[in-house]
């Protein structure tokens, strides 16, 4: 392996001394990456527990849930969830999952750990900002969780916090007092953390690439994190002022989002002239790109991992980067499709509908590239490979329903139903989770120097894969049958015949959630007792596999690599190991 003495080789800070600097307030991108992943793990456990509570209540609305009364004496007095508390659980589930899991893990977590190594740098461009980014995010999480313990409970206006109910205060119901204020504060703080992170990702990618690491040679995961940072930089820059305005409406008496003459809970609200639609525009200008902030790192992870196990180069690598760039650009032109029912000029609806349909083109091309990559390959069915295939499967399943929802006339019927719940859980949540699982199984040996258990990994995959289809596929039928979402129970109306299907979904959700214990056990046990991992257990090409497992403090032992190859050198004719690493000085691929 060649080494370079470049400006990037000069480390920004000395190795940490002492426990706090080493493990808590660390400047090392690898520690910060693991901190993000640990935070996401805690968040996903809470988020999943909340979904269990909701699902149990939907299936058996009068069933008391032991211990719940202690968490919320008002929301679940006898352990039975009130409709208002159901909305709080829904709001917190979505907020925790979208912000602190789907953004924190695949983007901030894996990105922090691997982006600098994959470009051959020793750390992020601004390590102090990086540390601040994590701890700001952590504070945001604590602020959000603290709302569980305030007197009237957490916010209940959904993760979208639609005004005016999110803006008027406690007149709008339990949870709309301090709980909603804490929600807005938490998201504002979260935005600051993500802006610090995006700034670091972009500067590191542009300025700290090692010698030879041209843009064309950058790994696809790095491309994905870079593009995601650009999206985040713009999206969170809009959500932050929106949250500030929302907070001012709540605590300072302004009227940005609250109209005049609004009577809530028999009280005339002391505001005038605000526009609730303004909040929706600002929120969804962030909200739709947020979908891609969650999913594009999964694109990068799958595009990096699939060729490793297919032992074939990725099909159309430049096309893939082009697709991700196109998706990033188009993501800012489609926000209005979330607002077809919010009172929109039909011509505006058409303007948002067309780019929404167009954005399926790069997404479809990317999917075809993955399928083309594995076509004819002797695929190694390892756990990370399985999760990549699962990613493609659920992404296609969720993407197909997007075609229907993109059309205003069809969306009018489906928008408030479980069809939408099925759509976004498949295409955004489950797909992103499969990307996270694929990344975890793939990079765990590098991060901890130990292998995860493959048998447990495969059990985890199959149970999860079958489970998510059992949970979310029937929701399409619920939606088509007119089953509205956000309702806490369906006992006394036309939806009663659908209760058995709800019970099936609940049982599937409980079992799929329980299957995650296999992952948790594997994760913890392998961290301490897994077999020692070699430096390159998967015979992969990118720079992280050129260094030790786990990497040293400065990533390359004081010798930054020189890159002579692209990340796609698999199936090289005549090569004993059929691949050429990026930092290899040996001959390039001959085709």
């Amino acid at each position: 392996m060649d080494h370079a003495a470049t400006p990037a080789a000069v480390h920004h800070h000395a190795p940490p001394q002492g426990f706090l600097r080493k493990h808590v307030f660390s400047l090392d991108h690898k520690v910060i990456g693991k901190q993000y992943l640990d935070l996401a793990l805690v968040a996903v456990c809470i988020g999943m527990a909340l979904s269990w509570l909701m699902r149990v209540h939907l299936a058996w609305p009068n069933l008391p849930i032991p211990g719940l009364a202690k968490l919320s004496p008002n929301g679940a007095a006898n352990g039975v969830i009130t409709p208002e508390y159901y909305l709080s659980l829904m709001t917190m589930h979505a907020t925790i999952m979208v912000f602190f899991v789907l953004t924190s893990a695949p983007f901030a977590g894996f990105g922090n750990y691997f982006l600098p190594i994959q470009v051959g740098a020793e750390d992020m461009a601004f390590p102090r900002f990086n540390m601040m980014s994590f701890w700001t995010t952590c504070v945001a999480f604590l602020v959000l969780i603290s709302s569980f313990f305030v007197s009237d409970g957490p916010a209940l206006s959904g993760w979208t916090a639609y005004a005016p109910l999110s803006a008027v205060g406690k007149d709008a119901g339990p949870g709309q007092g301090l709980g909603q204020t804490l929600w807005a504060l938490s998201i504002a703080i979260f935005c600051v953390g993500q802006l610090f992170g995006s700034l670091n990702f972009i500067a590191t990618t542009l300025d700290l690439r090692t010698k030879g690491m041209s843009l064309a040679r950058m790994p696809y995961s790095t491309w994905a994190w870079f593009i995601t940072s650009v999206i985040g930089l713009i999206a969170f820059a809009v959500l932050l002022p929106a949250c500030i305005l929302l907070l001012l409406d709540r605590v300072a008496g302004t009227s940005f989002f609250i109209p005049a003459g609004l009577v809530i809970s028999d009280r005339l609200q002391p505001h005038s002239g605000g526009s609730p639609l303004l909040w929706q525009h600002l929120f969804w200008f962030f909200g739709h790109p947020e979908v891609y902030i969650a999913i594009l790192p999964g694109f990068g992870i799958v595009s990096t991992i699939l060729p490793v196990f297919a032992r074939k180069p990725l099909l159309g690598p430049r096309t893939l980067v082009g697709c991700m760039t196109a998706i990033a650009f188009l993501s800012y032109t489609v926000w209005g499709h979330h607002m077809f029912l919010s009172g929109m000029n039909p011509f505006s609806a058409l303007l948002f509908s067309v780019p929404t349909l167009i954005i399926t083109i790069p997404a479809t091309i990317a999917t075809l590239l993955w399928i083309g990559t594995i076509y004819g390959a002797k695929l190694r069915f390892t756990t990370p490979a399985l999760f990549c295939l699962g990613f493609v499967s659920v992404f296609v399943s969720g993407g197909l329903s997007g075609f229907f929802l993109a059309q205003p006339s069809i969306d009018t019927y489906l928008h408030a139903t479980y069809f939408v719940v099925a759509h976004f859980h498949f295409v955004m949540a489950v797909a992103a989770m499969f990307g996270i699982f694929a990344g975890t199984y793939f990079w765990f040996p590098k991060m901890f120097g130990r292998m995860m258990n493959e048998t447990l990994g495969k059990w985890h995959f199959w149970l999860t894969f079958i489970g998510v289809y059992c949970i979310f596929m029937p929701m399409h039928y619920l939606g088509l049958a007119g089953n509205v979402r956000r309702y806490s129970a369906f006992t006394d109306d036309y939806l009663k015949p659908l209760i058995p299907l709800h019970r099936f979904i609940t049982i599937a959700a409980l079992l799929t959630g329980a299957a995650q214990l296999i992952f948790l056990y594997n994760l913890i046990r392998s961290r301490f007792r897994g077999p020692r991992a070699p430096d390159n257990p998967w015979q992969a090409t990118t720079l992280e596999w050129s260094t030790t497992s786990p990497p040293p403090f400065d990533n390359f032992g004081g010798h930054p690599p020189v890159v002579s190859h692209g990340p796609n050198e698999y199936g090289v004719p005549g090569a004993a190991g059929d691949y050429v690493m990026q930092a290899a000085s040996e001959p390039a691929r001959v085709r």
């Binding site: 940005f256 303004l278 002579s564 001959p587």
Partner: protein, 207 residues
């Protein structure tokens, strides 16, 4: 450490294939600090663009938009901020030469002008408050306070950056100055000027 598979076999008589030469990917001096400031400029611009669009929408949403005269001190503050950019540019020219400490007085002057600007903005708030125009009085006053407060916070951030440069400069003790950090701080400071001029124009038009 795992390295690489063995080289591919070449046909007999053919020249052996060579590794692609490493290509230069960056300029001779990558400046992450300046890149970071450009990225920060992009994101700050986006935030203020979002607020501007919010103001335009809100102004036309209801007939409660109340026009008022901007406090005259804002124009004085504008001159102070512009002057600070000139003093900073001059300080930078001096600091990039040796001895760098020659630029120190102009850097202090920039800091003083920056503080004067922030103080002036607070005085503008007090003048508005004396007229009975508070944050919640009208949407126009609300946007005025929001814009000026957020800009003021960013200026304070810039002052923090200049203090950092000042500390580095004093530590350099006559040697080469912290040119990269100074360049980044200067870029940011000039952007604060441009941003303020933009805000002044839209506030004049809308408020």
């Amino acid at each position: 450490m795992t390295t690489v598979a063995s080289p591919p076999q070449s046909p007999p008589g053919a020249a052996p294939p060579r590794a692609q030469p490493p290509t230069a990917t960056r300029g001779p001096e990558p400046r992450p600090a300046e890149t970071g400031v450009w990225v920060a400029i992009a994101t700050i611009s986006m935030s203020f663009a979002a607020l501007t669009s919010a103001m335009v929408v809100r102004a036309s949403a209801a007939p409660d938009w109340q026009h008022f005269r901007l406090p005259p001190i804002l124009y004085f503050n504008t001159l102070v901020l512009l002057a600070s950019s000139f003093t900073l540019a001059s300080a930078r020219r001096r600091i990039t030469t040796v001895p760098a400490l020659d630029g120190l007085p102009r850097l202090y002057l920039t800091l003083g002008l920056g503080l004067l600007f922030v103080t002036g903005q607070v005085l503008a708030w007090r003048q508005l408050a004396a007229q009975g125009l508070f944050l919640a009085t009208s949407p126009s006053s609300a946007f005025f306070y929001v814009f000026t407060a957020l800009h003021g916070l960013h200026v304070l951030g810039g002052l923090g950056g200049l203090l950092y440069v000042l500390r580095r400069l004093r530590r350099a003790a006559g040697g080469p100055g912290p040119t990269t950090a100074l360049g980044a701080a200067t870029l940011y400071w000039h952007f604060m000027d441009v941003l303020w001029l933009y805000l002044l124009v839209i506030l004049t038009i809308r408020v």
